[in-house]
Every structure is written in C-alpha cells, then in structure tokens.
C-alpha cells in the first residue's frame, strides 16, 4: 500500500471539547500553579524552609522528568526496532516526552537559586579544604554544570519535539517516508539519550554527595526512568480506555505487553540496584560505602536513620511487584494492571526521594513542601500532557504499522 489508509474511527480517537479530558489542562494547570505559589510562599518563611523547598522541588521535577524521558526512550526504541505492536500507544508516549521542555523551565530557575543549598561542591571554602573536591573540580564546577544541563535539555527537547511533530505530520499526509526517516535517525537518538541521561544522573543526583561515585549510577537512573514511563503510559492508556476513547483499540494483548515491559524493567531495576549496592558493600571502601551508610543506619560517629526507607524500596520496588505482575491474568486485567502501574509510579517517586533526601536530613523526614512541590510540578505536568493530547488524534492515525498494531496478538 502506498499510503496508510484511515482505518480507525477518528471521531472517537480525539478529545472532544467539553469532555473531562478537554477540561483537564485548565484544572490541572490551576492546581499546579496554585501549589507552585504555595510552595514558594512556604519556602520564603525561613532559610531552612528554602533548603527543604529546593530538595523537595528537585524530587518532584526529577520524578516527572523521568516519566517524560522514559517515554522518549520508548518512542526511540520503537522506531529503532520498527516495532508494530505499540503503535497504538506511541502517540501517548510522544505527548509524555514533550513534557520535557516544561520540566526544563521548572528545573533551571529553582536549581539555579538553590545551587548552594543543594550541592556541597559549590562551597568555595569546602573545596579549598578538600583534596577530593579539588580533583573533581574540572567536572564539578558551576559553569560546566549549567553548560551540560543546557545540552541535556536541548537534546531531549529536540528529540521529543521532532518525533512528535514528524508523527503528527504523518497523520496529515500518510507519508511512509516519514516513518523511514524517524527509524533511520533513532539509533543516533538512542545514543545521545544514553549519554545525556547517564551524565544528567551524575550531575543532578550523584553529585549531591560529591565524595561518592558509582559508575553504575547512570544505568540505575535509566532503570527507574523506564519503569516510571511504562507505568505512566499504562495508566494513561487505561484511563483513555475507561473513558471509552480506546475501546476496541486497546486489547488485552497490548495491555499484556505493557505489563510484561513493566515487569521486566522491575526486575532490571532490582538487578542494577542490587549490583550497585553489592559491589560497594563487598569492596568496603569508605568513600563509596558512605552513601549507602547514610541510607541505612549511618556510622557510630555519624548515625543516620533511613533504614526503613531502604527496606521499603527493596520490598516495594521489587519483591511485591515481582510476584504481583508475574501472572498473565493480572497483566491482562485492566483494574489489576492499573493498580500495578500506579504502585510502580509511587515506588519510583519513593526511589527519587530516597536518592535526594538523605542529602538534607539524617533521619527520614517528611515535609509539607514535599507534598506541595509534587502537586505543583505534577499539576503543571498533567496540564501540559493533556493539552498536547487534545491537539490531534490520540494515536498515529496513518502510521503504516497501525493495522499490524490493531490486530496484534501475543504468542
């Protein structure tokens, strides 16, 4: 066939004005803006609160950024492998990925203001007394940090916007050459993505504790990123199914595959997380073990109490979903899969919290600012994604592999 025929009922696959989905950008945007203002007001009451705000905000932005980045990875790998099954959910991933530029806007000003409170290596007096930080200065300096941050966001935003716009142009023209062009560029995109994501993990999360390093940290950050994206994609797909938009389009076969990916990356995350812990625990080198000690019980001189948080991560992020997501019947059941996906989203949030917060508190501490930052960033994220969903169809209507995707069967 020269051009992909229109084979799906387009009237159902768009968000109609006046529906709940169409009102969502305004509602979520309002909630997000309100809680962003509340967070800023709370942050201004004391220097301690400002410090808390910067950390809470970093957790919230990284959490939602991960969803966008993992979705971008899904789109890239989908084109690189010329996958057929997932065409029906690819537009949703494209929309989620296009929330990355918004995250740049939310990340840059707050982190710029909070540099001193977040990153110990920005303290000139500390660096002057610290041989290790002096050695790391060629990488850990503010100019380099912001230069790299600019490159990360430019690469991600460029990729996300290109893949969404090319896919939407195909909706208009049905041009198959667009599919070939997207596929041909995707390996380059995957390479750029892998490098930028790893270094973003090093710069933004690993350097919170500048003495510590783990060469595996980039992969760890990637594992969580992909899990949160598959979980968010599943939640979004099922939500559209519950509101009737995807009825007859999304079948148990597609859900089964989303569930399998969610399950597989839960195992991948655990494999990477344990490997990172295992090598550091076994070698027992002080500057490496310090990071894990501050997430467990601390040292005799410097006690900490994050042990329950670490246990929750091991059990909730791996043991429970490993057995919950294992049976085929659960992956094919809409309600149970939704529960699994929401659970993994919550666990990924806990993972980011666990990565960032021990930098600020010796004891496991929760703050009102954690909640308001999450609602602020989350509201704006949902507003952005639902606004993008309202522009154009909910799936690539004239993708040459759409027929294959609609008829997809496992086995």
């Amino acid at each position: 066939m020269a051009h992909g025929p229109r084979i799906v009922d387009l009237d159902r696959l768009v968000i109609r004005p006046g529906s709940g989905w169409a009102r969502l950008p305004l509602v979520a945007g309002g909630v997000g803006a309100l809680f962003t203002v509340v967070s800023i007001v709370l942050a201004r009451s004391s220097p301690e609160d400002a410090k808390q705000f910067f950390h809470s905000w970093l957790v919230a932005v990284v959490f939602f950024l991960c969803i966008g980045l993992g979705s971008l990875f899904f789109v890239l790998i989908h084109h690189a492998t010329k996958a057929g099954w997932g065409v029906v959910v690819r537009r949703l991933a494209e929309n989620l990925a296009c929330a990355v530029p918004l995250m740049a806007v939310l990340f840059v000003p707050v982190v710029a203001l909070g540099m001193y409170d977040l990153f110990h290596w920005t303290h000139a007096d500390a660096v002057a007394d610290d041989r290790l930080l002096q050695v790391k200065e060629p990488w850990l300096n503010e100019t380099g940090f912001w230069l790299r941050t600019a490159i990360y966001f430019a690469v991600w935003s460029g990729l996300a916007l290109y893949y969404r716009s090319a896919s939407r142009r195909q909706d208009e023209s049905g041009d198959e050459a667009l599919s070939r062009r997207m596929a041909r560029f995707s390996p380059v995109g995957v390479f750029l993505f892998a490098v930028t994501l790893s270094f973003a993990g090093f710069d933004w999360l690993m350097s919170l504790e500048p003495h510590w390093y783990s060469t595996m940290f980039g992969v760890y950050f990637f594992a969580g990123t992909v899990i949160s994206a598959f979980a968010a994609l599943t939640v979004l797909t099922l939500s559209l199914d519950f509101t009737g938009h995807f009825r007859g389009v999304i079948t148990g076969e597609h859900l089964h595959d989303l569930g399998k990916l969610l399950f597989a990356f839960t195992v991948f995350w655990a494999y990477i997380a344990f490997s990172q812990f295992f090598l550091i625990w076994y070698a027992n080198i002080p500057e490496e073990t310090n990071w894990f000690l501050s997430r467990l019980h601390g040292t005799d001189l410097n006690p900490a109490d994050w042990r329950p948080a670490t246990m929750l991560l091991a059990i909730g992020h791996f043991a429970v979903p490993f057995f919950f997501l294992m049976p085929r019947t659960i992956k094919r059941n809409r309600v149970l899969l939704l529960i699994g996906a929401l659970w993994m989203l919550a666990m990924h949030l806990w993972d980011v919290f666990w990565l960032v917060m021990p930098n600020l508190h010796r004891e496991m501490t929760f703050s009102l600012l954690d909640l308001t930052s999450l609602l602020g960033v989350g509201g704006l994220f949902i507003a952005m994604v639902s606004w993008l969903m309202g522009r154009g169809a909910l799936l690539p209507t004239r993708d040459p592999r759409l027929v294959e995707s609609l008829a997809f069967e496992n086995i």
Partner: protein, 202 residues
C-alpha cells in the same frame, strides 16, 4: 500447534482406526472448523498446523497451560537450593571469615541464588514442556497417512481420535466433511505392513 497426545487406551485392540483426519485449505476454515468441533462436544482431538494460528487455542477451547506453575516452582526451588547450599557451606560445613564479614553474609549469596533460580526456571520450562507434550514421541499413528506429510508444508489438519466418547466412524467423518474439509480419511491404528510387530503407536 497443539499437543501431540498419544492417549491410545490399553485395550486399543477394540479400535480399527486411530481416528479421523481432515485437511483444511486455509487457516480461516480451520479456525471455524475448530470452533464447530469444540461446540459439538468432542474432547479427544487436536488441530495440527505448519505455523502458529493466532487465537486457535480459544477456538479449540483449550485450558491455559499449567507450565507457568511448574516454572515458578522449579525457579523458586533453584533459588532456594542456591541460597540454602551457600548458607550451609558458609555457616556449618566450612566456616571461614572473609574480609571481616559475618559468616551469614546474605548479600554475597544473592548472585548464585539468582543464577540458580534462573537455571531452575529454564530447566523447568524446557523439561516441563517436553513432559506436557509427551515428548519425545518417536512415532505417531497419524504418520501412517501419506497426506499428513503436508502438515510441515501447507496442510492444516484436525484429527479426532477414535476413543472420544462422541466418536463414530461414519458420523464424525461426515461431520468434518460438512465443515468444509478438503479431504477426510480414516487413519489405521496399526501399520498394515508390519502386522503383529507390536511397534508403532500402540
């Protein structure tokens, strides 16, 4: 596709035929025919195709495989064995302090536990598949039909076995013809050439 079940009853002497074999031209015809055979209430029968036909297990009314439970059990068994063996060695059989760590250092046991869990699951999957499929089966009565060689090329078959409670030599053959089969034949239960040899499927 499907299981090559060789449930020839002990008293197979009472049967002249292994059963009825019908060939269908297209996967669509086979799919419809399977639904009809299922709905007619046959239980001892199988569909045989050169390639997977999606959804045929639903048309045939097959129950989900029990293999996943075998894989889970052997996987957990392998993991438990790996963990147990290391614990026993390090605590009881050969206690040795390594880099100042306690004897029961469970994190060090995880890699072997994981690998043996994977090994157990993989062996359970392969051997369980063989067991459920009754493999290896060196001979099958259906091989006596020269027509049946097409199952590795373009032939899509339904075979209904003679010991199915609903089976009748004439009626079952007619029923399959009525479903649009290209050819319907009775497959002999014993090879006419080596009579009394005792070999073959019996």
């Amino acid at each position: 596709m499907g299981l090559m079940q060789l449930d020839v009853p002990e008293a197979s002497g009472g049967y002249r035929h292994y059963g009825v074999l019908a060939r269908f031209r297209t996967a669509k015809e086979l799919y419809r025919a399977c639904e009809a055979v299922r709905d007619a209430g046959y239980s001892k029968w199988d569909a045989l195709t050169p390639f997977p036909v999606h959804g045929l297990e639903k048309a045939m009314g097959l129950k989900p495989s029990k293999l996943p439970f075998v894989v889970l059990a052997t996987g957990l068994g392998g993991a438990g064995l790996g963990f147990g063996l290391q614990s026993w060695v390090h605590i009881m059989a050969y206690p040795l302090v390594i880099s100042g760590k306690p004897l029961f250092t469970w994190p060090a046991f995880v890699p072997v536990t994981f690998e043996l869990g994977v090994l157990g699951a993989a062996l359970g999957a392969v051997l369980g598949m063989f067991a459920f499929n009754k493999l290896p089966t060196y001979h099958h009565p259906l091989f006596r039909s020269p027509n049946f060689a097409r199952v590795t090329d373009d032939g899509l078959f339904i075979a209904i076995e003679a010991w199915d409670p609903k089976y009748d030599d004439e009626d079952t053959a007619e029923f399959l013809s009525g479903l649009g089969a290209a050819e319907v034949e009775h497959v002999p239960i014993e090879d006419p050439a080596d009579d009394g040899d005792g070999g073959g499927g019996a």
